[in-house]
Subunit: 208 residues, 2 copies
């Protein structure tokens, strides 16, 4: 029996887009089940009980006789890309790719993605006082993450390796729409060239 995949997602989410881009680059078909995170559709009792007790998307559903549910965008990308050229085979290169994927979740996403969500989708006027008080710290930390990427890309075509890997896909997702969160990519020429390289990959698909 061939495995099939269903992605539980919200098309506005860059974390969901990572999985769609990985699947597209590898030619893997994905069925899509959409949720509206703004309406709490991933916090219902049904979703928590059967899809993800953490109440978050994306979740990759793997169907193969049984049903398995894999949360965490970067873990789902790892699953789909396992054994492909998107994951280097060399021990150090593999760990170095994961290094940038953990950097993405710790240093980049909570700042670059969160400000995009707050300012572009929720709207500054609708933020809580606590959220508004965090904008400046997230701005500074997000710029630091982008600056580190730009400096790293000054001497490399891709983040972790001589060719595209999951590290590029993970970081591309929210970097290429960082301007929606008020980050100016004009200051980061190496990031801009890297974005163009990724958009030129065979089978590339844009974010919805």
């Amino acid at each position: 029996m061939t495995e099939t995949y269903t992605l539980h997602e919200d098309p506005r989410s860059g974390n969901c887009y990572k999985i769609k881009l990985t699947a597209a680059l590898l030619g893997i078909p994905l069925a899509i089940q959409q949720y509206d995170i703004m309406r709490g559709e991933t916090r219902t009792p049904e979703f928590l009980a059967s899809i993800n007790p953490n109440g978050r998307i994306p979740v990759l559903q793997i169907t193969d006789g049984e049903e398995r549910f894999l949360p965490e965008s970067n873990a789902a990308c790892w699953y789909l890309a396992s054994g492909s050229q998107l994951i280097p085979g060399d021990r150090y290169e593999q760990a170095n790719m994961l290094r940038w994927m953990f950097f993405e979740q710790y240093n980049h996403e909570p700042n670059v993605a969160t400000l995009r969500f707050w300012l572009y989708f929720v709207g500054e006027a609708n933020l809580s006082k606590e959220q508004r008080g965090l904008i400046m710290a997230k701005r500074v930390a997000g710029e630091a993450a982008l600056q580190l990427m730009d400096q790293h890309l000054a001497t490399r075509d891709f983040m972790a390796y001589g060719a595209v890997t999951l590290a590029d896909i993970a970081l591309f997702a929210y970097t290429h729409v960082a301007e929606e969160g008020g980050f100016g990519l004009g200051d980061y020429p190496n990031i801009r060239s890297w974005i163009a390289r990724i958009e030129a990959l065979p089978n590339f698909v844009p974010m919805a």
Copy 2:
């Protein structure tokens, strides 16, 4: 030439401890280079230029004719444990292990570890107004992460698999000292049993 390893670390950091515990369980010798993060010793121009441009520890230095520097605790654990029984060989189990390691960096560490650092090492009186304003949100999010773990461990001995993996090591580091951040483990009986199982592993080493 045999590879040798130097861990650039602060012994108070759970992220550094993850790597020491991984190495101990696998019988891998690690040289130690200590820094005091409270004195900014990982933000000096020398550190940024030669160890980690992100200004953070841990960094695993791999010496094998050349010198390579691998930041991000979970990536360093992956490197050391590559090919060992701490990483399941099965494709799904491997992705599921990484799922919990990404959960650790996104949902657990920024709350459970940060409150421990602020309350136990910095001291509440020395926090900035912004930091003090974040304590409640981090308390709620940290309890949610612990609750999810406890619920998950109700029907399992280990987080990702039938035996200990890097997911357990990553989550153990800050969970077993969560009370230093004001989290009461009394509410989480399954976590307490899991902590006892990890502490009983052959070659286990405690945090400094």
